[in-house]
């Protein structure tokens, strides 16, 4: 039996306002541990909204997000923050690094916020992550001294810092050139192959095709599901779509 890392049931997200708007409209989805899931769809289709719900950044209007077997709809904002800190790693289109801090300090941030390791261990882990992403030379530089691709890799290292079960990435390659895109995508692929779950929102159909599974969202609903060329057999088994 394949482990389910992330499961959503009847997920609905509505925005109340002058004009009420349904961003996510009844999505059921299971993501296996170690799966690389790509979410595609046109602008405004609700794919980012779905991603924020999956990463507990946002709370659903209806439905349930189950992360590693833990239902989250009843959690308080603080408890959700704690789950994000330990179980989810975020990468955004805009790198969102703290500008006054060096690459190393940015990677240290989630570990220091969690506070379960000694300063020495944290430093070692941060350096190890930066080195594995080819950034050992850039550790002492600030974000504005790094290229776009380098920043995005620092953001990835930061997302990985607390060994989260799930990496959630929103258009991580949206601002990158082809070479950097290839590099970042490769890293995400490696992360998934190492057993962490990766959920990526992307516009790039070519990249999405290299994921284990691709779901296409239109108007907040899953419009189409397709499987990658080299998708892992357990993914198909987990999602019951053989």
């Amino acid at each position: 039996m394949t482990e389910i890392a992330l499961q959503v049931v009847g997920l609905v997200r509505r925005v109340q306002g002058v004009i009420s708007h349904t961003l996510v409209d009844g999505i059921d989805l299971s993501v296996a541990k170690g799966e690389f899931l790509a979410i595609t769809g046109p602008s405004g289709s609700g794919k980012s909204s779905l991603l924020y719900l999956l990463g507990l950044l946002d709370a659903p209007t209806e439905g349930e997000v189950i992360i590693c077997g833990q239902p989250t709809s009843k959690l308080s904002e603080t408890e959700r923050a704690d789950v994000r800190l330990t179980k989810c790693g975020f990468v955004f289109q805009f790198h969102f690094l703290l500008p006054e801090f060096t690459a190393l300090e940015n990677v240290l941030l989630p570990m220091r916020a969690y506070g379960r390791m000694s300063a020495k261990e944290m430093n070692e882990r941060a350096m190890m992550l930066l080195t594995s992403l080819g950034l050992a030379e850039q550790a002492a530089k600030r974000p504005n001294q790094l290229s776009g691709g380098q920043r995005q890799r620092v953001a990835l290292a930061r997302a990985l810092a607390n060994r989260p079960e799930i990496i959630v990435a929103d258009e991580p390659t949206g601002n990158l050139d082809t070479a950097s895109t290839e590099q970042v995508f490769g890293i995400l692929r490696d992360i998934a192959d190492n057993g962490q779950t990766v959920v990526v929102v992307t516009h790039d159909a070519a990249l999405a095709a290299r994921a284990d599974r691709r779901i296409h969202i239109v108007d907040g609903k899953i419009h189409e599901t397709s499987f990658g060329i080299d998708s892992k057999p357990e993914v198909a088994a987990a999602t019951g779509a053989v």
């Binding site: 923050a81 800190l85 805009f94 941030l109």
Partner: protein
């Protein structure tokens, strides 16, 4: 560990925004500095004034009257009895056995006591006539209970014994009557007795009502004018610590039964004015500190606005809202505490600067430097209030900024 993180983020924000931080610190420093200066000035002038008052007056005055009508034995015995027209002055004026009373007081008093005779008199000179209070004193004992000896402008206390019917008058009175040292004036008593007296000294206490309405003579002259030989109707006490005067007065009154008035009681109206003044000053100082904290409010508002992205990141990474909020409160505290230290320096310098200024004091008629009171309490209180104001000033913008949902900002950015 987490506190460490918050501190380092806060420190980074503050240290990379030098101009803003300096403005914030400057605001706090101004508030604290001016508050200290005001406190020093106000308390300095007040203490100076009180010192003059206390120096001029006896600390406790015992007079030959009772505070209330003595209760009559019949009244104590029967509830129905009501006695009226009972005088509360002793039948024969004067304090009974003054020497014995003084000896007994000296045995426990933290200070000294001197006898005197107080009466009213008219001073006539060159056709002008002024009503005054005449106090007959013993020059040898007087030096122990008043500063009169040091207030002499011309002549000495001992000169009283050198001339027949010598008197010492205040400078203001001397000017009013155009009397010079050595002149002879006519002294009239309420009872009709009249005698000529020689001015042997002129004093100046600094209090106008004393300088204009008080003269001194030997005890015997006052007794003669009253027509009561041997009478002593006033004991004047001077204490080593004027603050305990009230307590001593109560004790003396309990022991000897005569009305004993402390300088605090005699000047209750002045002291209550001081209480009002204190209240006004405290209000103004509080307002200054509060106003200075608005600079902090503004700066924290600006920083939190500029740092919206960082707040969103930290929250999305899983930092709790109150932890993120605390970063900005720490920033305010950093600005506040450094500002307070600068404020202390500024306050001290301002106090020092003011103390170099001399002003004409109409009370004493002398040009004296402004009196500044230096007290660590001023520094502690202004610092404590200021840091509290800073924390509160930071709390509201920080709370508003950190409440923002990260999704709103992340959506806006991408």
């Amino acid at each position: 560990m987490t506190t460490n993180l918050l501190l380092s983020i806060a420190w980074t924000h503050v240290s990379t925004r030098v101009r803003q931080t300096l403005v914030g610190m400057f605001g706090v420093a101004m508030g604290v500095g001016f508050t200290i200066m005001m406190a020093g000035l106000m308390q300095g002038s007040q203490i100076d004034f009180l010192r003059q008052l206390v120096d001029t007056m006896p600390h406790v005055t015992v007079e030959d009257e009772r505070r209330s009508v003595p209760s009559q034995p019949a009244e104590e015995e029967y509830a129905a009895v009501g006695m009226s027209n009972v005088p509360n002055v002793t039948r024969r004026p004067g304090i009974k056995y003054p020497d014995t009373v003084m000896a007994s007081l000296r045995s426990w008093l933290p200070g000294d006591v001197a006898p005197s005779v107080k009466t009213t008199a008219l001073v006539e000179h060159g056709g002008a006539r002024v009503g005054v209070t005449l106090t007959g004193i013993d020059p040898r004992l007087e030096v122990r209970v008043s500063k009169l000896a040091s207030q002499m402008r011309e002549g000495q206390l001992t000169d009283l014994s050198k001339a027949a019917n010598g008197i010492i008058i205040g400078q203001a009175l001397a000017e009013k009557l155009a009397v010079k040292n050595g002149n002879t004036v006519l002294l009239g008593a309420g009872q009709g007795a009249q005698t000529s007296a020689t001015v042997v000294g002129i004093f100046r206490s600094g209090l106008k009502r004393v300088d204009e309405g008080q003269i001194y003579s030997l005890i015997s002259l006052a007794q003669t004018l009253m027509g009561q030989s041997g009478i002593i109707n006033q004991l004047r006490l001077r204490l080593s610590d004027p603050v305990v005067a009230q307590k001593v007065a109560t004790q003396v009154e309990a022991q000897i039964g005569y009305k004993s008035v402390s300088w605090q009681e005699a000047n209750a109206d002045l002291l209550s004015t001081f209480a009002t003044r204190d209240f006004i000053v405290l209000t103004v100082m509080g307002a200054m500190l509060l106003t200075s904290s608005f600079a902090t409010y503004n700066i924290i508002s600006t920083i939190t606005h500029e740092k919206r992205h960082d707040i969103a990141i930290m929250k999305s990474l899983g930092m709790r809202e109150y932890a993120v909020r605390r970063i900005f409160i720490i920033e305010s505290a950093i600005m506040g505490s450094v500002g307070i230290v600068f404020g202390w320096i500024l306050g001290y310098l301002l106090c020092y600067g003011w103390s170099q200024i001399t002003i004409f004091n109409p009370l004493t008629g002398a040009t004296v430097p402004l009196q500044i009171y230096y007290s660590p309490m001023h520094y502690i209180a202004s610092g404590a209030i200021s840091i509290l104001c800073c924390a509160v000033a930071a709390f509201f913008p920080a709370r508003k900024a950190t409440r923002v949902h990260p999704v709103e900002i992340i959506r806006g950015a991408s």
